[in-house]
Symmetry: C2
Subunit: 109 residues, 2 copies
DNA sequence: ATTTATTATCGTAATATTGCAATATAAATA
DNA sequence: TATTTATATTGCAATATTACGATAATAAAT
């Protein structure tokens, strides 16, 4: 991105944007879907699943972790990843408000 | 962004990523929130609401419209924007699956 | 037809993202 | 301790995003 004027927006707006942005990449969608499928797995499993090199997958995992969408536990010499409810809970509320609005009073002009 | 290897991912993964990416900016979150608040409004209203210049707002509206998250109707010499259920419906399903997973079997290793 | 109001587009500078090779780090095991 | 396995970090090239001034396009009103 270019210069995003985050200081002009509310904390909530910036937080929601950060979460959505973290989800907004096909590789990270694929990672989330894989974690739903297998519940938890290590990084190298995802490297085998995705058409991306190990450093790239590691970077995507880092972004998801920073956003609070996944968490990782040390398991031997590997790190076991799974979804993190914290991040998803925050967006959930936003979409609930959106959907409530759409169910009722949405008509364009 | 850099080179995103969209061709290696499923259509669904790319579509979800596109939607989330469109939401993933504080200005676009603010636009969505404003549209929920007032139901529908014209571009210049949003320009007055946000700390951004008119061309920038116009660009953000275009991105939201391309993603299917808002729609615009010609109203006099202005364009009346409101939320578009099509885009939001698609993400809704994704988050429902995520939340269903998190309610049940989420434990990290 | 000209003016006014509203929105879109173009061009461009600044910055962010993506992807990966090379390399570093950390834990387990021989 | 050396090796293997698993993950993270660094550095960099290619590309995308953001923001806005200048300008164009469009539609109403005068």
């Amino acid at each position: 991105m270019g210069i995003s004027k985050t200081e002009h927006f509310t904390e909530e707006q910036n937080e929601l944007a950060t979460l959505a942005k973290a989800i907004g990449h096909p590789a990270r969608i694929a990672i989330i879907q894989h974690l739903i499928k297998v519940n938890s797995c290590i990084c190298s499993d995802i490297v085998n699943e995705l058409p991306l090199a190990q450093p790239t997958v590691s970077q995507h995992l880092k972004e998801l972790k920073n956003a609070g969408l996944i968490k990782g536990n040390l398991e031997g010499n590997a790190i076991c990843y799974c979804l993190d409810e914290n991040g998803f809970e925050k967006i959930k509320n936003f979409f609930e408000i959106v959907n409530k609005h759409l169910e009722n009073k949405n008509q364009c002009c």
